[in-house]
């Protein structure tokens, strides 16, 4: 199974190889969806983890034990098909590459698996064809 998590690393943990240890210890695959360090030097990571249910549960426990704040990515952007005009204004702005265009039919396609729920497409869509679901 797969899980999307938002991880907050306090300043003291930013330079530790936490994720690489985590994936080895719990036999997980990972995919970094977004990573940034705040001016206060706290690390933020949106991560997709793939592994067995048991390993994923233990991995989350392990992270919490280290002092990492763990939240599941519960926000989800949805595309409202009938409102989308397929203009492509959102396409170059998506930081996660979750929006693509079929160049034969010029149809905009939204891949919710890649979406990191940053919300930029919601702001730029002229016809309000995207909504944030919590």
């Amino acid at each position: 199974m797969e899980k999307k998590l938002v991880l907050h690393f306090p300043n003291a943990l930013v330079d530790k190889p936490i994720i690489s240890n985590l994936v080895r210890k719990f036999d997980l695959e990972f995919n970094i969806l977004k990573a940034y360090v705040t001016p206060e030097e706290e690390g933020n990571l949106i991560l997709e983890l793939i592994g067995t249910e048991e390993n994923l549960t233990n991995a989350v426990k392990h992270l919490k034990g280290l002092g990492v704040k763990v939240q599941s990515l519960s926000k989800q952007v949805e595309m409202i098909e009938e409102k989308c005009t397929h203009c492509t204004a959102c396409v170059p702005l998506c930081p996660a590459g979750a929006i693509s265009v079929d160049r034969e039919t010029f149809t905009v396609k939204f891949n919710s698996k890649k979406c990191i729920a940053c919300g930029i497409c919601i702001k730029v869509c002229p016809t309000k064809a995207r909504i944030l679901k919590i």
Partner: protein
């Protein structure tokens, strides 16, 4: 070989007309050449679906009892400010109008959730619209206040009249500054983060007849899902623009003023748009038929995306300051590929105009003609050409004495 519009209309009537969309024509001429294709094809249909701010509606709401004179007073439709400077119960509502209490860009960038364009879409969708009028009252129009719902099906007339639609060609907008900017060309990320364009390219009506040889006053068209007409040349019309050898303008060029009955139109081809940090605009679907009267018209109509170039303009400085500077040129095939190269950097592209919907509109117009539901019109007069000296002029600002 040449044809006349009358001959083509005879063929439409007898179900024998050959009608293709402009993108189909591009492929046909690549295969069979211009000469052969021009004898085979009678009509080429074009299409575009993009935000066009210079759009709006005239409404006549009918008289109330007792009568009220909106003229000189104030009028609001779903809270959006309408124009009241007409006769008693005539109103104009423009696409970019906003409610008085909209925060606009006070909280930057503003979201502009609801404006004139959205009221127009709601009218077309058959929704009730709340009308509020404050008038000063006269002996013949004594009433001072009116609050009611109106609905498109009940009011006398609803005329879509757009003074400037269908720009022939358009800028590709980029941002060279270090901060994100919010424009009518969408959100532009700093330092060439993205490049936004707004044209259907090889499907766009005025790119297919670059000298407006077949389009003039009275040309019948697809407008917002109904039938409309070209009723003047558009504002900021510029036939004197620089052109490529194939006749295609290097920038803006011609525009059209369009008119049509809103009651015939459909919500999916007339949509309200909210542009973050900029405002509201009406996204208008337009399709124009081009009669293939001769080989020359066929050659223009078959110009492909690869041979249509748009100027790249910096919207952080050159556009707002009207410097006229162009950073370079790219063609629509490059733009539609999703990525262009500027100053050695690969820049992702986005479009404000929907090519998918443009294709859909060109196909619908083709079906209308094939089914004998739509006939071509001869224009009553043609619009000024470059020889006339007609130009797009900047404002001459003068000090007030």
């Amino acid at each position: 070989m040449t044809k006349t519009i009358q001959e083509i209309n005879e063929k439409i009537k007898s179900g024998k007309a050959v009608v293709v969309t402009a993108d189909e024509l591009v492929e046909m001429t690549k295969e069979n050449g211009i000469k052969k294709t021009s004898t085979q094809v009678d009509v080429v249909t074009t299409g575009t679906f993009g935000p066009m701010c210079s759009s709006g509606v005239f409404l006549n709401i009918g008289h109330s009892t007792p009568k009220i004179k909106i003229g000189g007073g104030k009028v609001y439709l779903n809270g959006v400010v309408g124009y009241s400077g007409l006769a008693a119960v005539d109103i104009y509502l423009g696409a970019t109008s906003l409610p008085e209490n909209d925060p606009r860009n006070a909280i930057y960038p503003g979201s502009f959730n609801y404006g004139g364009a959205h009221v127009i879409e709601d009218l077309v969708a058959g929704k009730d619209i709340k009308l509020v009028v404050n008038a000063y009252g006269t002996d013949c129009y004594p009433r001072k206040n009116l609050t009611t719902y109106i609905n498109l099906k009940d009011i006398n007339e609803a005329i879509l009249f757009n003074p400037r639609n269908c720009y022939q060609n358009y800028n590709v907008a980029v941002n060279l500054s270090k901060k994100t900017i919010y424009t009518y060309m969408g959100v532009l990320k700093p330092e060439l983060g993205n490049a936004n364009y707004c044209s259907a390219g090889q499907l766009s009506p005025l790119l297919k007849d670059p000298y407006l040889k077949t389009i003039g006053f009275g040309t019948r068209i697809f407008l917002g899902g109904g039938i409309g007409y070209v009723c003047w040349w558009g504002t900021q019309y510029n036939p004197s623009v620089n052109r490529k050898e194939n006749g295609i303008p290097c920038s803006g060029g011609a525009t059209l003023a369009l008119i049509g009955d809103l009651k015939q139109m459909k919500q999916q081809y007339l949509k309200g748009g909210s542009f973050i940090g900029y405002g509201t605009s009406l996204i208008v679907g337009i399709g124009i038929p081009i009669p293939i009267l001769n080989e020359e018209i066929c050659r223009w109509a078959s110009i492909p995306d690869e041979e249509i170039f748009a100027p790249v303009v910096d919207y952080s400085d050159d556009y707002p300051n009207f410097t006229g500077k162009i950073l370079g040129e790219v063609n629509y095939a490059q733009l539609k590929s999703g990525q262009i190269e500027l100053f050695g950097k690969k820049v992702p592209t986005g479009s404000l105009s929907s090519y998918k919907k443009a294709k859909e509109i060109a196909s619908i117009l083709k079906e209308w003609i094939l089914n004998g539901k739509f006939f071509l019109s001869e224009y009553i007069f043609s619009f000024p050409d470059a020889k006339s000296g007609y130009k797009f002029k900047p404002l001459k600002e003068r000090p007030i004495i």
